[in-house]
Symmetry: C2
Subunit: 443 residues, 2 copies
C-alpha cells in the first residue's frame, strides 16, 4: 500500500497553516470586538436537516454533493456543506435564544463534487451573522467588520454594496417577470461584460427593449441620486431608501471603503436586501478566488475576498412555520485571503520558530538559556540530536527560521552567546538578556 | 420535521466555546513557543489508511467504530478517529520532511461508538509530537510543555512519569511472559486498587509468587534509587537509566511538577519508553475525565488532563518497511480541561462582549462612541433595535455581559456617558476617554 490522501482533500502543511492561523486569529479578534460570540456546530448532521435546504427551493443539483453516511444504528447522516444550514438548525433547536443572536463560526465544510483548481472537497468557511433583527444597523456593523478585518490584515480592498430590492425594482421597471434569472445573468457582468450579459438575457427570452432598459440603470458610475430620479416603483425606491440609511450609518462608523455599485448582484437566490462583496484593489496573486473585472475597476483583475448580504426568509422557510426570522451575514473566503497574503510575504516559514539554538557541547547550559527565552515568550527551538554546525545551519535554513543562537564554551566563559541573522549572515556576541531585550523591542 | 442534531454529537454553544477557545489559544501559544509547527490533516482519509492501524496489531474492535463513506466515484473513505494515523500517513507521503519534525494538530475526530456521559461521536483532539529523534531531550521538552501549559491556565497539577522499559524489566524479573496483559491490569491500579489488580492478574493465569513479586516493585513512594538496587535485568536497568537522564534534563529546565511514579502504566499497547500523565491536584469538578485514585494521592480523586509517551515503533510498522521512525508525543484532554476551568470561573458568559452600549435616542452619536471603543480593542456590542432600558438591561444580563454603557442626551451634553457595572450595580459618569483608560489599566 502506498499511503496517500483521499481524492479531493489535502494536508494544510505548516507553511500554509501558519498563514491560515494568522488570518483566522485576526478574524476572531475582530468578530469579538464587534460583539459576536463563537459557536461550533457538529460536522455530522442528520441527512434530512441538510436536505431541507433544497426542499426550500435552492439548487437541488447540490443534493448529490452531500457526503452521505450512516451510523451503526443505520441512521441517515451527512457531512455539512455550509455553515448556514447548521445555523438555521441551531436557531430551530434553541427557541429561547435571546435575539438578536450574533454569532460567528469558523469550520470545515464538505462537498462531494468535481475537483477544480482551488476547489477541494473539504474546505474552511468563516461566517459571521446577526439573526433576529431587521435593523440596518446590523448590516452596517457587518460592513464595518469587513473594513476593520482587511485593514488589520493590511490588504487594500474596496467593499461594493448594493440592494436586491433596488435590483428587483429596476427589473420590474424593465418589465421582467423572471427576476432571479436576470439577476444570475447580471451577476456575471464582471466576467463576461455587457455584451455577454445581453446575449445571456436574450437567450433566456428577454427582449431587446427590456435588455436596453436594464442597462440604462445598470451602468458604470451611476449614483444613488441619479437612480432616485429614474426609479419609479415602490420596491426599487425602498431599496434606495435602505441604501441611503445604510450609507448614513457607515459614514458615522467611519467606513470609507464601502462604495455603492448597482451592478453587484450576487448569484444566490436567498438574498432579500443588502448585498456586498469585497475585492482586492490590485494583486499579482494567482486568481484562485472568484474574479471580478469590475465596471469600477475598468478591467483590472480583482480577487473576491468576502461577500454577504441580508437573507430574511431562509430561516423561516427552513423552520417551516409562519415565523419570520430576519438575518444578515457575511462570509470570508479563507483561500483567496491566504493567497493575497502570501503574495505580500517575501518568505514562507515552515515553523513559527524565531530562534534556533545550537549548543556546542553545552547541552545542559543551553537548556537553561532555552528555558529563559521561552519564558520570555520567544518561539525557540534547539538541536535535539547533537548535530554538527553545518547540518544545524542547513536545518534552520530549510525551515526558514530567521535567527540562530550559537552557544559554545568560549562564549559562555564570557557570559555571552552568538546570535546569527540567517538572512543577512551578520553575527553579534550578546548576553542572554540582550537577546531578550532585542526581541521585546521588535514586538 | 422537528429539527435536531444527529445522535451522539452536540453543538458547542457560545458559553462553552469561549472556554474552549481560551484553552486552545493557550495551548497553541505554548506549542509554538517550544518550536512546534501547526499541521492540519483532512478529516476524510482513505478507508485503507485508517484500517492499516489495526492491521498493525491494535484493538480491531475499534474498526467497527470508523464512520465509513464513499464519494460519487465509489471510493472507500472514512472519517479519522484520531490524529496519530493521519500523522503517520503524512510522514509517509512526505519522505523529504526535515527531521526532527515537530508538529501540533488540534482538530475533530470521529468514532461511531456507544454514547456514554462525556463521550461523544465527534470530539476534539489536541496532539503535539516530535518525530524522528530518539533523544530524551525531546521527551523532556514535552514534559516541560505540560508544566508550562497548565501553569498558564492556572490549573494546579502533578505530572507522573514512568518508563515502559522499567515496567517490562520488572515483569520479566517476576517471570511474566505476557507483559501487555499485565500492563493493562497494572494500569487499573488507580481505579481498583492492589486487591483488584491482584485478582485480575490471577484471573489471567499469573501465579501468586509472580503477583507478589510485581508488588515488591510497584508500590507507593518507591524511588528510582531503590529500584536501581532491586532491578536486575538489562531492559529494566535501561529504563532506569533513561528516567535518570530525563529527570536530569527536567531539573535544568525547571520542571518541578514532574514526579516519578512506578505504577503509571498507560494502557495503550504502542508505548515503547517514557510514559506520562497529568492529574489535577484537587478538584470539585464532575468526574468527566479518566479518574485516578492514585497511590500518591492517597485516595483523593483526580482528573486526568493530559497524557503521552514515546512510541518508537508505530510509524515504522505503519509504513510497512524496515525504516524505524522514533516518535514521542502528548495529547491534551480538552473536555476535562474545560471542566476544570469551569469549576474555577464564577460565571459563564454567553458572549465575549465586555461593554454593551444602550443609546437613548442617540443612535448616531452612540455609533461614533462604539467605533472608538472597538478601535481601542474593547469588545463592544450595542442595541440594534431601539429597545427600552429595562429590556436592554435584561438582554445584557441574560448574556452575562459585565458592563453596560448608557448614552443619553443629558450625559452627552456634559460630554459624558454612564458606565454601569452589572455585577455590583454601581454607576459612574465618565468621559469616553476615561472608559477606555479604565480598560487599558485592567489589561
Amino acid at each position: 500500500m502506498k499511503p496517500q490522501t483521499a481524492k479531493g482533500v489535502k494536508d494544510v502543511v505548516p507553511e500554509e497553516k501558519i498563514i491560515q492561523n494568522k488570518v483566522v486569529g485576526t478574524l476572531k479578534e475582530v468578530f469579538e470586538t464587534y460583539g459576536f460570540a463563537p459557536l461550533e456546530t457538529p460536522i455530522i448532521e442528520r441527512y434530512e436537516t441538510l436536505a431541507a435546504k433544497f426542499a426550500a427551493g435552492e439548487d437541488s443539483d447540490a443534493l448529490k454533493e452531500i457526503f452521505k453516511l450512516t451510523d451503526q444504528g443505520k441512521r441517515k447522516l451527512g457531512l455539512r456543506f455550509d455553515l448556514t444550514v447548521p445555523l438555521a438548525r441551531y436557531i430551530a433547536t434553541n427557541p429561547t435564544l435571546k435575539m438578536p443572536f450574533k454569532r460567528y463560526e469558523i469550520g470545515s465544510v464538505f462537498r462531494d463534487g468535481p475537483i477544480k483548481a482551488g476547489r477541494l472537497r473539504q474546505f474552511w468557511q468563516c461566517d459571521v451573522d446577526t439573526i433576529g433583527t431587521s435593523s440596518l444597523l446590523a448590516d452596517a456593523e457587518l460592513i464595518s467588520i469587513l473594513q476593520t478585518a482587511f485593514n488589520k490584515l493590511k490588504l487594500d480592498v474596496v467593499i461594493l454594496v448594493n440592494n436586491r430590492k433596488l435590483l428587483n425594482g429596476i427589473l420590474e421597471q424593465a418589465g421582467i417577470q423572471k427576476k432571479e434569472e436576470a439577476i444570475i445573468a447580471i451577476d456575471k457582468l464582471d466576467k463576461i461584460g455587457v455584451r455577454g450579459v445581453s446575449e445571456e438575457l436574450k437567450g433566456k427570452g428577454f427582449n431587446a427593449k427590456q435588455i436596453k432598459t436594464i442597462f440604462t440603470f445598470v451602468k458604470e458610475g451611476i449614483t444613488l441620486k441619479e437612480l432616485k430620479i429614474k426609479v419609479k416603483n415602490a420596491e426599487g425606491l425602498e431599496g434606495i431608501k435602505e441604501l441611503e440609511e445604510l450609507f448614513g450609518y457607515l459614514r458615522k462608523m467611519g467606513v470609507k471603503k464601502a462604495k455603492f455599485e448597482v451592478s453587484l448582484a450576487r448569484g444566490l437566490a436567498y438574498y432579500t436586501g443588502m448585498v456586498c462583496e469585497v475585492f482586492l484593489k490590485s494583486t499579482k496573486a494567482k486568481p484562485l478566488g472568484r474574479q471580478r473585472k469590475s465596471l469600477l475597476a475598468k478591467g483590472k483583475m480583482q480577487s473576491s475576498l468576502a461577500a454577504g448580504g441580508r437573507w430574511d426568509q431562509m430561516i423561516g422557510q427552513f423552520l417551516g412555520g409562519n415565523r419570520e426570522v430576519p438575518a444578515v451575514g457575511i462570509s470570508f473566503g479563507l483561500v483567496p485571503m491566504m493567497e493575497a497574503l502570501k503574495e505580500k510575504e517575501e518568505f514562507m516559514e515552515k515553523t513559527p520558530t524565531q530562534i534556533y539554538v545550537i549548543p556546542i557541547k553545552t547541552t545542559k547550559e543551553s537548556l537553561e538559556i532555552v528555558e529563559k527565552l521561552r519564558g520570555a515568550g520567544i518561539k525557540t527551538d534547539f538541536d535535539l540530536n547533537g548535530k554538527g554546525m553545518s547540518k544545524n545551519l542547513q536545518y534552520a535554513n530549510a525551515l526558514g527560521i530567521p535567527n540562530v543562537l550559537i552557544i559554545g564554551k568560549k562564549e559562555l566563559q564570557k557570559k555571552k552567546v552568538l546570535l546569527r541573522d540567517m538572512k543577512t549572515g551578520t553575527e553579534s556576541l550578546l548576553t542572554v538578556k540582550q537577546v531578550i531585550d532585542k526581541w521585546m523591542q521588535k514586538k
